[in-house]
Symmetry: C2
Subunit: 203 residues, 2 copies
């Protein structure tokens, strides 16, 4: 199976990177062909060009490569911190540019007239792992955890990915080494379960 | 009253700009001192530096200017398209960098340990206007309109802005000139009402 793992965090080494490497390694150990991208590390440019915003295909070679990998992935993992209930700008820019019209989704009429889209992604399972500094009960009660709906309903199901598994780890700022080890073990488990789910869905 | 109007859209001239100019003009006509920013037009750099991500103050003069204006605003307006249930990257980067710790919010303990924040903004009313291509019933039923909670609960109330007025205009892609004129008239009305509300709250 082909897999794409994307991590977005401003630092070059973060706990988000450890999670992403855990998933990458679990999928590689299982024989998957994994493309791994650290968006900040590779200098991904996050702003849509005016042409891209009009729906024209990107001419940026890095964006084109990401689109190709996204389209052929059976497994997808995205890892980023929860920043204000949304992805940080580096990840938001990756979404804006890579989940492009006629690449990740399209419309029966050819362009977006407010109709239901046709998803073009073939990924069988997507894994979204976020880190945060809000206790779980406060995230749900006060903030409503908007990332859950953004990833599951607004992005992935829109593009045809039905099976979305999400985890939100926190409070990271005050976490112990033991807690972090447990979160990495959980990430490894979720990655291995994703392969099983993808194989069941594929048959 | 001091006011800050921010528009984020990849194009140099868009319907989002028309909405933003309408609000700016309504506030200027009422005698407000309005700072107006077209983020893409002024080349706002959307990525947190590693130091900013660690909570250190920005050394970017444009970010510093935005922070100063945000902190002294009595009225705030943000206008952007709904992109995947979240702001586009240019606006998300503005949030990530300008709603900075010890500028827009702080903590009793000095840093973020998952506790409730102390809002530092003094804006009495914030106006958030979004455009989209999803019919209103579908936005609510299928996608859950995450922008509502992102702006109201995750960002503005977190930073101490209690009075948030939001409008979502759509479907823009198929809208007639008459509809657009109506949305601009509504933006003008919301801007003028915001002044009244701010004056009531201020007394």
């Amino acid at each position: 199976m082909k897999a794409l793992v994307v991590v977005g965090h401003p630092a070059v080494a973060s706990f988000n990177h450890s999670i992403a490497e855990t998933i990458r390694d679990a999928w590689r150990a299982a024989g998957c062909d994994v493309s791994y991208h650290d968006l900040a590390g590779e200098g991904f440019h996050p702003l849509l060009t005016a042409a891209e915003a009009r729906g024209e295909p990107s001419t940026d070679p890095l964006v084109q490569a990401h689109i190709a990998q996204l389209r052929e992935s059976d497994l997808l993992a995205v890892i980023h911190p929860n920043c204000w209930g949304a992805p940080p700008a580096i990840v938001k820019g990756w979404i804006d540019r890579v989940f492009a019209p006629n690449a990740a989704y399209t419309f029966a009429k050819g362009d977006d007239q407010g109709d239901e889209p046709i998803g073009l992604l073939k990924a069988k399972v997507a894994l979204v792992i976020n880190t945060g500094n809000t206790p779980a009960h406060r995230e749900t009660a006060v903030f409503g955890d908007p990332l859950e709906r953004i990833w599951r309903d607004c992005i992935l199901r829109y593009c045809g990915v039905q099976h979305v598994v999400r985890a939100l780890f926190g409070v990271v700022a005050t976490s112990s080494m033991d807690e972090r080890r447990r979160w990495l073990a959980e990430s490894d488990l979720l990655a291995r379960q994703a392969i099983e789910t993808a194989m069941e869905v594929g048959h």
